[in-house]
């Protein structure tokens, strides 16, 4: 399937998707959205709003009780595991590996779905995420940001065009948050990778091209941050009144000033 042919098509689609962890209690309710190729989307919502569940549904880890999920126009669950892995990749929020795997070994696991390895090598992937010097280090000795980048390098070897990331910025210093955002942006631009990442920092979400605002498993708004991240919708999503201000440059930011 050539990329130019499918460029304008939606690569990931959900239609009336419902899901619940407990019987009789709908958690994800009638979710419908569609994502195009090369998009970089921030999935924003409070704790427990359903961000992770949506990513797990999209990656096939969870199966919807009703509705359809389509990957490149085909039902997600009709794909063989290995074929799906070549198209779509999910990284959980916690990467707590307590075994002595080396960085290069972990990155190499990205090749597991393949019988014939794709063009990119472990070294190239590590170069791209800036970890080439520590390729022989043990993963257990790395910082949270380095761990995250190791797994992103693994997804590069896996070669999937869609990256689903659950809170990749959680629990790491702001310096590494910026590093990872820069890296993801670079991947989107250079490798045409589509990214959906969950986050809960509204200020970071304001910098995204597209934001999906979630509450109680429903979409409150989906589009560019200026239209979605209004004071009203944020109040609804996060249950807190905040003020959106504009910097001199015209960039919006939220202020917590009147909340303390």
């Amino acid at each position: 399937m050539s990329l130019t042919y499918s460029y304008s098509r939606s690569i990931l689609e959900m239609e009336n998707v419902r899901f619940s962890y407990l019987k009789d209690k709908k958690f994800i309710n009638n979710l419908t959205f569609s994502i195009g190729n090369g998009e970089f989307i921030g999935l924003l919502g409070a704790n427990g709003s359903g961000k992770s569940t949506i990513l797990k549904l999209a990656s096939g880890i969870l199966k919807p009780s009703e509705g359809h999920i389509k990957l490149w126009g085909k039902p997600l669950h009709s794909f063989k595991n290995k074929d799906r892995a070549k198209l779509l990749c999910y990284l959980p929020q916690l990467l707590d590996i307590n075994l002595p795997f080396r960085v290069a070994e972990l990155v190499n696991m990205g090749l597991y779905p393949y019988d014939i390895p794709p063009q990119i090598t472990v070294d190239e992937a590590l170069e791209m995420v800036g970890l080439k010097e520590i390729s022989e280090s043990y993963i257990t000795n790395l910082s949270g940001g380095e761990r995250r980048r190791t797994f992103i390098a693994m997804t590069l070897l896996q070669g999937s065009g869609i990256l689903l990331l659950d809170e990749p910025l959680a629990n790491i210093d702001v310096k590494y948050q910026i590093e990872i955002l820069k890296l993801l942006k670079e991947l989107k631009e250079k490798k045409d990778i589509s990214i959906i990442m969950a986050l809960h920092d509204i200020n970071i979400a304001l910098h995204f091209e597209k934001v999906m605002l979630i509450k109680d498993g429903r979409i409150l708004g989906f589009g560019n941050p200026e239209t979605v991240l209004t004071a009203d919708l944020i109040k609804e999503a996060f249950d807190v009144g905040i003020e959106i201000r504009k910097q001199e440059s015209g960039r919006a930011y939220i202020s917590y000033e009147n909340n303390f």
Binding site: K56, S59, G60, I61, N81, K82, D83, R84, A85, K86, L88, C89, Y90, L91, P92, L94, L95, D96, I97, N98, L99, P100, F101, R102, E105, L106, M109, G110, Y112, P113, Y138, T140, F151, Q158
Partner: protein, 321 residues
């Protein structure tokens, strides 16, 4: 780099295996064999060393696999209750005297117990189409207690030679080893080892967590079930060959990971080799130091193993706990 280390492990294992054949209460010079020497070697020492090696291979490999599927560094093959199930039926057989199959009776009764214990623990660990590691672990702990308490009850109400044998057997008794057991143990253990090594990539992925394993294209439930079957096969075969020998399944995989990393494509086979060598060594020590009294190998492995394990625990960086 790691190839050299693997070769060293293999060479050391071959050396220990040969030592356990030629050394013992009576040392034998392999270059000047007498007729009696040949008989000692072929009738007693060689089958015994092979049984010890097979058991150690099974325990080392299944420990490595189990620590992976349970994502728990403290797991060992006996935690699942498979061995205590085997111990219970073996003791029942020994104490009741209902042995109809000669030399094969004890291994056979033990294997039956191990087989049913595997199915029971597996079905308790089963939920929504797959094995859940935490459920499996807790079910195993619960079943072990149950089986062992019934076993102790049996032992406490009986009083004869059968009881002594049962107790010895619980701590690992290699003195019953002879050639008749070897083909059967060999087949089961090699089948389990082959199955686990063929799923080593999946085990690597499972060690990163179910979600990442799924994302890497593995069917999590299917892979975990196959790996559990390999553990059950090897543990059952090992226990039925010579009783429950502790600590090999727990310690050997940690030592191997310490030297060669966590990649299960290497960890499983190297743990198997080292497990085999360790048990040969323990058996050699057990039959030599207080000869003619034999110390059961399970006691030797625990006496060497426990302090070393505690030392490892002190060095947090080794276990990465």
């Amino acid at each position: 780099m790691s190839k050299t280390k693997i070769l060293i492990f293999i060479a050391a294992s071959v050396f220990i295996f040969s030592a356990s054949v030629f050394l013992g209460p009576k040392a034998i010079n392999p270059f000047a064999l007498t007729g009696t020497d040949r008989e000692i070697i072929f009738l007693i020492r060689l089958p015994r060393a092979i049984v010890a090696a097979l058991m150690g291979i099974a325990l080392g490999a299944s420990g490595a696999v189990l620590q992976g599927i349970l994502r728990n560094p403290l797991a060992d093959p006996y935690i699942l209750g498979i061995s205590s199930g085997a111990a219970l039926t073996a003791a029942l057989g020994l104490l009741s005297g209902l042995f109809f199959f000669g030399n094969l009776s004890l291994p056979l009764t033990a294997f039956i117990g191990a087989f049913f214990a595997s199915i029971i623990v597996g079905s308790f660990g089963w939920r929504r189409g797959g094995i859940w590691p935490d459920r499996l672990l807790l079910a195993g702990v619960g079943l072990s207690f149950l089986f062992y308490s019934v076993l102790m009850l049996l032992i406490s109400i009986s009083s004869d030679e059968g009881m002594r044998r049962a107790l010895l057997w619980i701590f690992g008794d290699l003195s019953i080893a002879d050639w008749s057991l070897i083909p059967y143990g060999f087949l089961l253990i090699i089948a389990g080892l082959y199955l686990s090594v063929s799923r080593a990539k999946a085990l690597n992925a499972l060690m990163l967590g179910d979600e990442l394993a799924h994302s890497l294209g593995f069917s999590v439930n299917r892979e975990r079930l196959l790996l559990f079957v390999s553990v059950a096969l090897m543990t059952a075969a090992s226990v039925s060959l010579g009783g429950t020998i502790g600590f090999i399944g727990l310690i050997i995989p940690h030592i191997v990971r310490f030297f060669i990393g966590a990649d299960n494509r290497i960890v499983i086979p190297v743990s198997a080799i080292c497990g085999g060598a360790f048990l040969c060594m323990a058996d050699l020590i057990g039959k030599s130091v207080m000869a003619p009294i034999e110390i059961p190998s399970g006691i030797v492995t625990a006496i060497i193993g426990s302090p070393y394990f505690l030392y490892l625990l002190r060095r947090r960086d080794v276990l990465n706990l």
